[in-house]
Symmetry: D3
Subunit: 225 residues, 6 copies
């Protein structure tokens, strides 16, 4: 069971589901009332993708496209914080200094992305490191880390437990270079230098998150520093 503070990354795709979202709201409030302390980072999901696609059609540069994605992730964060306005901090912090200000009020801190060229997973690790938090739970758009992206490689194998350096080697050996949707090398290097354990689970079933937090049992991947 994890009783210290933890960081929770929620896939932006959670905000596409009118069924799942209310359940997550209730679970987070329940955990908070039971004494769990956490910081939450939300992804941009399909909203980010839509505005980035629209932007690409009108020739917006990569940096400004990323900023649209960041604003989308912040809109998701704002929705969640508004639903939890009895316990959460508003307005949504947009950098580490504001995270510290929000955190020091004792309220639940929820953010989206921070900067172009940086995934929201990296933001979650930056916040963890900054606040001295040693566990990140990544509720992803997939149920675990695989040896390769299972949506493009049907031979990809699920990993139950993997060290950061092993995972870096696996990701590096993938023949086609490209973006690492789930976890990028920068995110992993922060986890490594500060000894942060990452739990990747799927956001599709609420039970994965509840079990991990209240019982300490992972049905996804544990990435050890």
């Amino acid at each position: 069971m994890i009783r210290e503070s933890f960081t929770l990354k929620l896939s932006g795709h959670l905000f596409d589901s009118e069924d799942l979202l209310p359940k997550y709201v209730d679970l987070i409030r329940e955990l908070w009332k039971n004494g769990y302390r956490m910081a939450i980072v939300t992804g941009g999901g399909s909203l980010a993708r839509r505005y980035i696609e629209l932007g690409r059609k009108i020739n917006i540069n990569e940096s400004l496209l990323d900023m649209l994605g960041i604003s989308a992730s912040r809109l998701n964060a704002q929705l969640l914080a508004a639903a939890l306005s009895d316990i959460a901090y508003l307005p949504i912090p947009t950098n580490l200094d504001e995270v510290f200000r929000a955190w020091s009020t004792g309220r639940l801190v929820i953010t989206g992305g921070f900067q172009p060229g940086q995934s929201t997973a990296t933001v979650a690790l930056l916040i963890s490191e900054f606040l001295g938090i040693k566990r990140l739970i990544d509720c992803a758009n997939i149920d675990a880390v695989y040896t390769n992206d299972p949506r493009v490689d049907s031979n990809a194998r699920k990993l139950d437990k993997v060290s950061i350096s092993e995972l870096m080697a696996i990701l590096r050996s993938r023949t086609v270079a490209g973006t690492y949707d789930l976890l990028d090398p920068w995110a992993l290097s922060i986890a490594q230098r500060s000894g942060i354990t990452i739990y990747v689970i799927g956001c599709g079933k609420l039970s994965s998150l509840r079990r991990l937090i209240t019982e300490g049992t992972s049905d996804g991947t544990v990435i050890t520093p």
Copy 2:
């Protein structure tokens, strides 16, 4: 022909159309390069509606729902400003003080909404009044002002020209009270006290806007102070 500064309110629904949006981007840049000076306010459109509906399902209060709508309108403003980043100001101003700072750099100023309980049309009038601008062009989700909402009342009659006080009387006499989607009394009272003319045209055809600006001919409604 309107050659002084004007304010342009763009319906948020414009951002639903992958066809229209690029054309508006090109027209705005062309006008700017030809010496027209303007401030633009974007609505929240269907994105705002989606997040407000989602928020209502998870019991968010009216004030925080409005704030989600405001953030949605700002995302639209950011998309437009990013596409016009050679001439427009960033980041998106969120109040009148920031509008002044942005305006005094000489760049094109684009904003979304400002405050709960306030339409983006009112924002456009606040900005007009603040900057001493005497003309607001409202590119709406409908082609003109009618005696009643034509989507609910088939007897509604299109108005070519109407004074603000006549329009206020018409809106007040409508049997069913409710929200004034297009123009609310607060917006109208600002136009009145500061002598601002409002041109309502439809955003569906680019030619309405181009003709109004370059030839001064309205095919919508002219609201005189």
Copy 3:
């Protein structure tokens, strides 16, 4: 007796009285120490009127005149917060985001106005709605709401209790349109959509406020949503 949080609107004219002001300071501190939680909004009073008149003589536009009035109301707020600096928040919040930051520290929040074209009564309702507060006490420059402004209409009748929709009808039926000094339609519509009860009492006698808060008895007007 009202024991939940409430919002208190103080007429700016209170700050003209060197006798009344210290008594309000003491009463507010006493209530706070007894566990009452509140947000306070101060009006601009005669200071606002003086600077607006001066500004009109030098041709300042309506928007910038309103901003002078807002700064005047903030100076009143700052005076009150400085006198209550053991319990109140400083600097004076100037928008809803800052109100939230201040409120989440647990200190007494005091503001003046927010935006041109908006009364401080509307600010008080925006703050109430934003923080989920259901009662606004308006300590006005008059002892109750009347069927018309008693200073211009000697037939005006005092209202003990009135619903928001009745009051809207009364205000609308007044032959001469104009500014609604006490409560404008925008303020009332926020109260209505969020179910906020408004108690209008006079600020001239401290006993009206004390009795309303500690005994729940109004000698002014109760406006029900």
Copy 4:
């Protein structure tokens, strides 16, 4: 004739006069249009005194009283900037960083006070030094510097020209220690270390200022570094 940039300190008492103020507004605009570049600092005048007196009655500490005086001086600055909104910067800068931002837009910069325990004359010297400006014109509530405050010492003698070190010696030798209303030692030491000339003239006659600027003739006191 002074054609380089200069700093102008305007006594807060100017804002008590409905006759003088409009003339200053016109003169400043005329000078600006003729190519003179300046930064302006306004005093708090009788408004500051009124709020400080009120505050002292309700036991506000010295630091917070000074802050009320600063806010009063900023309200005066805002009134002036609003009247000159075609050429001046808004919102009113509140520290040197904001002064730089405002100055670099090329607009007329107007401020009030900055910090407790610091006169607006000192603010004017800090701004001069920061922007590399070598001349400060102090339009004071008195027509020149005297060997002592002429309002309390009838033997005080007017000084036409005095060096900073001589003036420091004169001020230091005054038997009764106390506040130096016109120019304090801190202000003088900044003028000295950065070689700034101070021209003290009275704000009561517009001609003193006009003549000093356009002809270079002082009918007050010239303080040389």
Copy 5:
């Protein structure tokens, strides 16, 4: 023994010593855990001197040189706050408004300098006055106040106890005018008007600070208001 809140000025030269600094970090945390409440101001020390000297070589003006010194003092403040990040506030406040925000979270507030032409000792007194704190402990680069700077005048005599007005007279009578490294007249005048006692001790021995705080015994100079 001093159990109320106090302000602590730490000489910037403390940050030159890899031996002393960790001990101060431990002592401050220990005091905080034992219930002592304080605000800390750090000087710029040799880092400030180095950047100011470098800046003078490339012709930077006095105001901007002071700003470099302020940034150096803030870097020292940041180092200390980072070492105490379990109890201290971040980011480093840069003016009194931010000090209030930080102080109202209940965390340990640490700042550097504020403004050109102003010593960090003056900052410590401004903060004391603003927060209503009546004791300032100045851990200086020297063990006490002397009748003159002992580094230039070998006849200088150590003062055990001195009133502010006596000290002002002593400092004023020094033949060679100049900068008052330890305490300037502006700092002293704030202490005087608000009745703040200043304890000057040396920062070289940790025991001086510990004894003063826990036993109330000074081995330096007590300056009484």
Copy 6:
């Protein structure tokens, strides 16, 4: 010859040299006056290293150590901007939004670092991409890119020209993993996705920079996208 806008990364070690720094100040001003437009990013150099080492001794976490390094790099940026205060923007921007605001005034923009876990080289690429700049000149603490760090590997070979993907492969193949002092993979991936050419030259000789800018001849390494 490069006449479009470019970004210039200056090694923090430049600020250790009282000889070189003034020459760089003069060259930058000369280039600016000749019409070259640039944004500059300064490293933290030995100052950053000193504060990070000091911080590590008092157990500061990695995130807060990086923030000390960022503040050090900003102090260098502030020194340079102060020396160029006739053309440069102040205060030092700390994120991309502030860079845009500064850039749109037409002044020379100088920054230090932005965020923990991110080199100042990456900041220079983020700014290039954001502003649509296609050339980055990296004045490094070494005269070119080598096949390995020449300070640890005496067999390292200088590279005259290399593509980003080749360089990524070279860096990845280095046996001992570790930090990439000069250019990290994140920096390179931004250059790649936005087609930015990086010129690495040594900061030790002013002639390398002058020749590259005015003649287009590199004596270091050209990294092509």
